[in-house]
């Protein structure tokens, strides 16, 4: 048998934990990340809402940045510390929210994210899908700012 390095790692119990094609795609090619330091600084300054959840101590941490125009999310950036499923789930969430109204974006659940990724290992869902909470915090921040 030759070993090819298409990530097909087995879990410790032998189950094929890793990760759907969609997870791999977003993990190895994360979407809507900052293109440059300048862009990051610009979002830090001008984003309409920034939300952060988790901590490195618990293994996962996420920060979401949104820009809103006429009640719709027009731009989204994010930063994530965590494993493949954490990175992939934030990446796919960033794709899901762009173009959505604030109200629709609020309704996104962890289940929606997992579904879009075509599934995640069960034990990973609880700890690594936190993006929706970061997004809600970003929306909260936006709405607070608006008032």
């Amino acid at each position: 048998m030759t070993i090819t390095h298409k990530t097909e790692v087995k879990g410790k119990n032998g189950e094929n934990w890793l990760y759907s094609e969609n997870v791999k795609k977003h993990f190895f090619h994360p979407q809507n990340t900052f293109k440059s330091q300048e862009e990051e600084e610009e979002f830090e300054k001008n984003a309409d809402g920034i939300g952060e959840v988790g901590s490195p101590a618990c293994g996962d941490m996420m920060r979401m940045y949104i820009k809103v125009k006429n009640g719709k999310i027009v731009a989204c950036r994010w930063k994530t510390f965590g494993c493949a499923s954490a990175i992939a789930s934030t990446s796919i969430l960033s794709e899901m929210v762009i173009g959505k109204t604030i109200d629709d974006a609020r309704k996104i659940t962890p289940q929606d994210i997992v579904q879009k990724l075509n599934g995640l290992p069960l034990r990973k869902i609880h700890c690594s899908v936190l993006g929706d909470k970061a997004l809600q915090k970003a929306i909260d921040a936006y709405e607070k700012k608006k008032k």
């Binding site: 390095h5 990340t33 900052f34 510390f81 965590g82």
Partner: protein, 393 residues
Amino acid sequence: METRNVYVDHAATTYVDKRVIQSMIPYFDKVYGNPHSLHSFGRVAQKAVNDARESVASILHCTPKEIIFTSGGTESINLAIKGVALSKGSGHIITSKIEHPAVLETCKYLEKQGFTVTYIDVDKYGIVNPNDIKKAISKETILISIMYANNEIGTIQPVWEIGTIARKYNILFHTDACQATGALSLDVSHLYVDLMTLNGSKMYGPKGVGILYRKKGVQLQPLIHGGGQEFNLRSGTENVPGIVGFAKALEYAQKEKQQENKRLVALRDNFIKKVILTIPKSVLNGHPTERLPNNVNISFLDVEGESVLLYLNEKGVAVSTGSACSSQSLEISHVLDAIGLTHDAAHGSIRFTLGKETTKNDLEYVLSVLTPIITSLRRISPVKVKKSEIRKT
């Protein structure tokens, strides 16, 4: 640079040395008798087991009767610890916080059965202070079990000093030498151990075979009952090819260790130096010199180990991590926790364990793919840990 396969996870397991494979082959279909049989098929097999036992004994400087073949490190550890505990009936056990789960889980099990256990702290390098052991000894202490070298951070323990204490207080001393089997001296007359666990699959030997050295006179209760093989301590038909392969692997590893260790230490230290110089905010875990020749364990701050592992895997590089995310329990490595690393730093730990075929070019390749991986993961990480904040206060 072209993708190449670099396996630097030899502490997980090694491939089997071709010379070892050759030595095993006759014992599958030519010499296949049961060593317990009286006919000549059995006698030949028995001789092979005897020869293997003698060969192992000569390396350990003990008698063949002090060598018990088992199914591997975990079984040997269970036999040593539970075997002593069951034979004594009750009492107190001393071990350390950084032992392999085979030791820790066995001790936890015995706690449930009414034994008491002290788990000794280690210093920031992962070294057990023999004085702490001395202090933990009580009238009830029946066994001390301290590993020879740690599987995650490679720290080598002062085994003979602990052995000296154990002997002075007349307490049995077991060492788990699974990671040390191929690299360190196994001379029991200098180590002052009463029980020692060795494992084949981390020294280019076959999986599924290990030994427990049991000093003459040490009372053990067997865990596996049956036909009375292995001096009544481990029943079951002997794994003849495995035993032959184990002895051969040990023979080669011990004979070649001096030269190989020298080569590995040079590779290891050069790799550590280069990684730390090239990648900012990278910190060596474990002791700079009192470590296994093939062990490198480095925390890359602000990134998470499983992500690094998978990116490296995509580039053909096999490593392991102490990050919680890669473990079944979702808890960080108990070893990194015991040496005082914060969770942040432990999450970013990567273990590279070199092997006989690892070359300088391999490690240069690893570094060349590692550097951009860490950079790109840091670019998307919201965490900014300071190098001065990696230890718990």
